[in-house]
Symmetry: C2
Amino acid sequence: MKLYDLDVSGNCYKVRLFASFIDIPLTIVPVDFMNGEHKTDGFLQLNPWGEIPVLEDGDIVLRDSQAILIYLANKYGGEAWWPSEANLQADVMQWLSTASNEIKHGVGEARLIKKFGLESDWTQASERAHKTLTLIDNHLSKHNWLAASRPTIADCAVYPYISIAHEGHIDIDKYSNIQVWMNRLQQLPNYISMPGN
Amino acid sequence: MKLYDLDVSGNCYKVRLFASFIDIPLTIVPVDFMNGEHKTDGFLQLNPWGEIPVLEDGDIVLRDSQAILIYLANKYGGEAWWPSEANLQADVMQWLSTASNEIKHGVGEARLIKKFGLESDWTQASERAHKTLTLIDNHLSKHNWLAASRPTIADCAVYPYISIAHEGHIDIDKYSNIQVWMNRLQQLPNYISMPGN
């Protein structure tokens, strides 16, 4: 199973982290993102969206880190990480949407601006980041894990960009419940880190 | 089952549309969004994110339209609309992420700017919208439905904001495959419209 990957991408790290948690070997195919390999014809044939990560498992090719998490959890991870019961699955899904929307356009965008020179409004991204972090911190004041009362792909999807928020000059020290949750996640068996966290 | 709803919200319409397709009765609870009811203490107790739609099914309370679609499909809609097989489920999920990310921040944001006076950059939203619409149109040149070769919640999630793109001054006439797909979806039994489409 191949993961088209960039080591400093939080979205790629989501997949590497979860694959490690469930002990699936991945063949890492580094994509030369900085030199635009993801916009070449060859890569666009694999993923017309020109984005990473991409997972290739035999004939199956998947874009979007959240979809890849669901695929791996459903096929290899079992019930624990991606419940089949409707209300628990929806509970996890709420946080997958948070990852692909609020996290991406908050802490994720702030990091793109500060670390990779994206031309966008850092103040706006920072406001979005802190609004979302406050909501997550409040949620974690009553819950050990984001969804379903156990570690799920929700945690794997939301954790990465928060864990490297400082690279976007977003200070998360004051979010004490997030700090405890991040520490809890880091203690899970087979946890791996990424550059910056 | 209660849906906290706003008639002109594409996210609420996603839920109404899908509930109609699978013939589930919803008790519609209109939220006075224009007067800020979604920011009142009462509403924030229901959904701390201060957003609609919210679905209430007995003790279960769900935010996020994509999560609500998964819940309804999983609990009431059966295999057809939300496959359980890993690769098909991930295929659908790719498009749920597209709905909560690219669609929201493209055609969705352009509409918020033009119809509701959101202060944001229309040119940037329009560029994002057309980039995404081009990718979707290309995909639909080879597929009748977005995912899994059949109508699924992927179509229900992506269709609403595209169907009202004109309200954000985004012209979708040139996307011929999208036009055919929208027409195909409108022919499904129990299709319902929303204001503007």
